[in-house]
């Protein structure tokens, strides 16, 4: 009896391996459920609402896409730097987290068409004379770890021209943008480099002490990251982004979440 059980178990295991093997070959299909990773520390794109649920422009966007594709959307909140790893391990199949398309990230994931263009903002104390990113060379800069602001401030090559913008700055990396802003208010750094929209939120809440400078040298394009190699899924998502932009839903969402921030 025992031997029979062992043999049966072995058979089941072998069969299941076989089937998963088959599944891998047909990877390029739209998944049954959109399991999307985000980092809800990035207002107004993603943040925790008063009920401690993720909300924001990106979240509304992916929910709209899910609705149009007739798929369930499951949101997983995690640290920004863990997102790509989670995708590689297969625990999520999409990322919407104000993520910019970069060559490095493209080695690990596929990107949809851009759904939003963002500029980098420099948050400064009211009395600062800095007006553009390149003037931050040699200064102390606060950033949110792993974000574009971090990459630019750390003197890494960035953007279409693939050039270093800020040279030899001291970079302090925080888990959250708001921590960097607090450090700036405390006076231990000269500037915070972070995406434009969250920067506006931060400065709005500290308008007596802080100001904001936008530099187009830091412009970048937010895309939805998708499981690498799944072209069918990518095409479907691109189709939906296009449709959402065309029929005015995009502008409504943008008005609701982004333009209301002033």
């Amino acid at each position: 009896m025992k031997k029979f059980l062992v043999a049966a178990l072995a058979g089941v295991m072998a069969a299941s391996m076989l089937f998963t093997g088959c599944g891998k070959k047909e990877e390029s299909k739209v998944p049954d459920k959109i399991i999307v990773g985000t980092n809800a520390e990035f207002p107004p794109f993603e943040y925790m609402d008063n009920q401690k649920k993720p909300d924001g422009f990106d979240i509304a966007m992916i929910k709209e896409i899910g609705k149009r594709m007739n798929k369930k959307v499951e949101i997983q909140n995690m640290e920004f730097k863990s997102l790509i790893g989670a995708m590689e391990s297969g625990s999520i199949n999409s990322i919407i987290a104000g993520m910019t398309k970069t060559k490095e990230r493209e080695q690990s994931v596929d990107f949809s068409d851009s759904y939003y263009t963002s500029n980098q903002a420099i948050i400064l104390k009211k009395d600062s004379k800095i007006t553009k990113l390149s003037q931050l060379s040699g200064k102390k800069i606060g950033v949110q770890e792993g974000t574009t602001g971090d990459i630019i401030s750390s003197g890494e090559k960035f953007g279409e021209k693939n050039k270093t913008i800020v040279k030899k700055a001291t970079v302090k990396r925080f888990k959250k943008g708001v921590d960097a802003v607090m450090d700036l208010k405390n006076g231990s750094i000269d500037a915070v480099v972070i995406d434009e929209k969250p920067a506006q939120e931060f400065v709005k809440n500290n308008s007596k002490k802080l100001k904001l400078v936008i530099d187009s040298a830091g412009a970048e394009y937010y895309c939805i990251a998708l499981t690498k190699g799944n072209t069918a899924y990518k095409e479907e998502i691109n189709k939906q982004i296009k449709a959402i932009k065309k029929d005015g839903t995009y502008d409504k969402l943008k008005a609701k979440y982004i333009d209301s921030v002033k």
Partner: protein
């Protein structure tokens, strides 16, 4: 696999980053241990004044409140209060070693108090009846015996402290864990940096453990006579 280890440690001389991070981890730990032991001893003696007098004293109350508050709040919260509120972003080493030193002192105090109280009551009575003062008995008779009781638990506390410094990154202090965070955010792979960091912490704790074991053996020599 080999490629990701190359990216995590060799490429762009990243091993130098790990060395810097390790330096910060060790410096913070060592200074914190020194602060913790010094302040912890004082706190323990403050608490013991209650025993000497037979009722709670002002000193013992102060020590009790300090220990109560420190042990009752998360270290991360203490670290963020120290960084953002008290020291306002001044110097990572100062913030780190002060936070962990003050935190560790509370635990060390209780360890030392327990160690002292574990010494037989008769030792104190014996010392006093020989004409020694309370302080003399404490210094020459009780403490030397208490240290042997204390050492294993104290070693435990040091190990916990070293590993807990890994939260320094929350306030942008670049310790070993923060370096692995940084590398992960650049190479988009977690395995190699995390395994490497884990190994370095392990070795660090191993060295400390071996040192403490040797010290314990040395102290136990007198037991076998």
């Amino acid at each position: 696999m080999l490629d990701s280890f190359y990216k995590a440690f060799i490429a762009e001389q990243r091993y130098l980053l790990y060395l810097d991070g390790l330096k910060m981890t060790i410096l913070v730990s060592v200074i914190a241990i020194l602060i913790g032991v010094a302040l912890g001893t004082i706190l323990a003696l403050m608490r013991l004044t209650a025993e000497q007098k037979g009722k709670s004293t002002l000193l013992s109350k102060i020590a009790y409140v300090y220990i109560d508050i420190i042990r009752g709040t998360p270290t991360l919260t203490q670290l963020m209060i120290m960084y953002f509120v008290i020291l306002k972003g001044q110097g990572g080493l100062l913030v780190g070693s002060l936070t962990f030193g003050l935190n560790s002192a509370a635990y060390v105090a209780e360890i030392i108090r327990a160690g002292i109280q574990a010494v037989d009551q008769g030792q104190m009575e014996g010392g006093r009846s020989l004409g020694l003062s309370y302080t003399q008995t404490m210094k020459d008779i009780i403490l030397p015996q208490a240290i042997k009781n204390i050492l294993p638990a104290l070693g435990n506390e040091f190990i916990v402290l070293i590993k807990e410094t890994s939260i320094l990154g929350y306030v942008s202090i670049v310790d070993l864990t923060k370096v692995s965070d940084f590398v992960i955010s650049r190479i988009f792979q977690a395995l190699a940096p995390l395994l490497g960091t884990a190994l370095i912490y392990y070795l660090l704790v191993k060295v400390l453990t071996l040192g403490l074991n040797a010290l314990e053996r040395r102290l136990r020599q007198s037991d076998r006579r």
